[in-house]
Symmetry: none
Subunit: 404 residues, 2 copies
């Protein structure tokens, strides 16, 4: 059962303990091949297996059985935020991910450069996946756009993706995506879902922007149009420092994950790859007491259907575990945000293996860190993802008892 | 955790996949006899055991640990409807079960013919369990009853049971049962619990009906009086087609189960017995994509305390499993609605064994389909019954991911 943040706030107590949450993105899998083993079962993971033997294991599942989570809500659930109660748009995540100082009232959207044909129909939703540098060049053209009463911010995100922020008085974000989500169709006109006046006003600005963008990009190839989605405003949520009294840092090399981390009050540090993340972890070890370290490539391998690559990547992470343990965290948690079975080439609803290690975990009989072995673990086969953070705080002796 | 239907509606996506939910009523049991095995352990179930080996298993439990469910709420829970949030009276279930076109505003009640002595005290709450044909004859007498401003509908249900529907303007169903629930007492006068005017009006009609019925049945034997219970009006719930976009069919030979199925938007097809149900299943296979198949006799055997009979019936069902598998459903789920241990001669709160099979289930170490073996299953020992439907839809690839 999920506990209310207001209760947790009252229970939080100061401590010197340090917690590492290592997220191996898309970790869980499904059996494949002749041996009928999962990616994690196929991988040689002596370090995680050793941890599993002396720690407590289990599997966690998102807020509702059978429901597959996207990356944003999956991470928010891991940070303890119920994915339905705490919903946020792509635009806000993108803004936070690129370190943009998003203020209350700003409206943010995630943009894609795309390719349209002469009739204006989308032929490629990602404009041939142009790189970040090219995206920066195209954005320079769009910065000529002027609209009365509103300040325009355009920043590259990654590859063909960019961030659009509208800053002005009385804006609203109840706006549908202009991305038609398939080729052969024209970009949609922005419109509001409920017709609230602030969003109506913003709709006009968005359509003006899209129309000016079409003119300015007319002669470009392949990035001759933009698609916008995830219009949203920054929500006012209690952050992890406020709830638990921790200072928290995120080490992730994809903007979206840094965005999710910032949204819950972490300092998010850019990081080229996992090796750099671990170097940074050592450098900032004394400055923070909660560390979220993100490893992305396993999820990408799963989405590409590359079973062997996912196995190799899991082994790569396993090889780095001693570097983390060398720092002697009081609590270590290793898990994924969701499953991404290579056989499904997509995120899935299957529960995700989980280890929690601390001097106060009650060890179980799990000897290997696999989906099947974790079923017998002390954390059970379906721990709600939102229960993980309170458990980490408890293991770090950062929660008082409730009641006398 | 249960997910809101509104969220599920947004996640549902069209698919061609087919799902079979086979409910072996009262499946779960308790150990008995010298061997101290449950009914399911005593039964030879090679087909279900084979499924258990290649699929995912577990036990489900209704919405609250320790709470025993009646047949109506137990089925609604299996269909994903929280038994406390989605409550419905026996009257409505009976009406839907006999294909009566119950309209909004109608008040339905389940009636029993009973036997009363000269003082009007109930001596047999079921009038010697008269058969359906006899019940039809007695109802013919009662159809002479006339009451101003209200249309009366009387239909036989099964054996001594019948359906009473009052149709008119401004009726209410907040009315206590007239069934005293024990012999030696007189039928109760109808009265409202809260005194709302619509129900007050209806109370007068009900008492008038009971009094006229007593006169008309005065010389009958043994069915010389009626008892009424479960006064209710049809609720407006979202149905499975609306939530998940499935076309759903129910195959059940007891009216109550067809009624529960209709209440959640299934087409309920009458079926003499399980053999006929499976024949019909083949015939309608191309027309629907969700099939609820109900097997009742196991529950009756449990309620009769007939351990050996329940074992034999479980084996009978197991023998038919290949007929279902032959249709190649994308997802198959075999479970019960609740436990009915023969040793208890009643429904019980004990979790119910459960198999879910699909190309996307993550197999576990369960080798036999029994209560004890399922404890080690991947679905865990206490899966909420309301989680089953979302899991079936996920396994049928009928749910989009939540959030980006």
């Amino acid at each position: 059962m999920q506990i209310d943040f207001n209760v947790l706030k009252k229970l939080a107590r100061p401590a010197e303990t340090k917690i590492v949450l290592l997220v191996i993105d898309g970790l869980g899998g499904l059996p494949a091949g002749n041996n009928s083993v999962t990616e994690l079962e196929a991988a040689k993971t002596p370090n995680m297996d050793a941890l599993a033997r002396r720690c407590i294991c289990g599997l966690h599942s998102p807020f509702a059985d059978g429901v597959t989570l996207g990356s944003g809500p999956a991470h928010l659930a891991l940070f303890g935020y119920h994915p339905v109660k705490y919903q946020v748009g792509r635009g806000v995540l993108a803004a936070l991910g690129v370190n943009f100082d998003l203020r209350p009232g700003d409206v943010a959207a995630r943009g894609n450069f795309c390719t349209v044909d002469k009739e204006g129909r989308v032929t490629d939703r990602r404009a041939g996946r142009i790189d970040t540098r090219t995206t920066e060049q195209k954005l320079a053209l769009l910065r000529d756009i002027e609209m009365e009463g509103v300040e325009l911010h355009l920043l590259p995100v990654k590859d063909y993706r960019f961030l659009l922020v509208l800053r002005g008085d009385g804006l609203g974000a109840d706006i549908i995506d202009t991305d038609p989500q398939s080729t052969g169709r024209k970009p949609l006109q922005a419109e509001t879902k409920t017709g609230d006046p602030a969003s109506e006003k913003t709709v006009n600005l968005v359509n003006d922007f899209a129309s000016q963008a079409a003119n300015l990009l007319h002669n470009e190839d392949p990035a001759n149009m933009v698609l916008l989605r995830g219009f949203s405003q920054r929500p006012a949520w209690p952050g992890l420092p406020e709830i638990y009294g921790v200072t928290a840092a995120a080490l992730a090399n994809y903007p979206m994950y840094r965005g999710a981390a910032r949204l819950v009050g972490m300092d998010a540090l850019e990081s080229e790859d996992f090796t750099v993340s671990l170097q940074t972890l050592r450098q900032i070890w004394s400055k923070y007491d909660f560390f979220f370290v993100h490893f992305k490539p396993t999820d990408s391998a799963g989405e590409n259907g590359d079973f062997e690559r996912k196995v190799a990547l899991i082994e790569e992470v396993d090889g780095k575990i001693p570097e983390i343990l060398h720092l002697e965290p009081d609590v270590i948690c290793i898990t994924g945000d969701h499953s991404t079975p290579a056989t499904m080439r997509a995120h899935s609803w299957h529960p995700v293996p989980l280890i929690i290690g601390s001097p106060y975990c009650r060890p179980d009989s799990v000897h290997r860190f696999t989906e099947a072995d974790c079923l017998a673990g002390g954390l059970g086969p379906r721990l709600p993802a939102t229960s993980i953070m309170p458990l980490l705080m408890a293991n770090a002796l950062r929660l008082e008892k409730f009641g006398a």
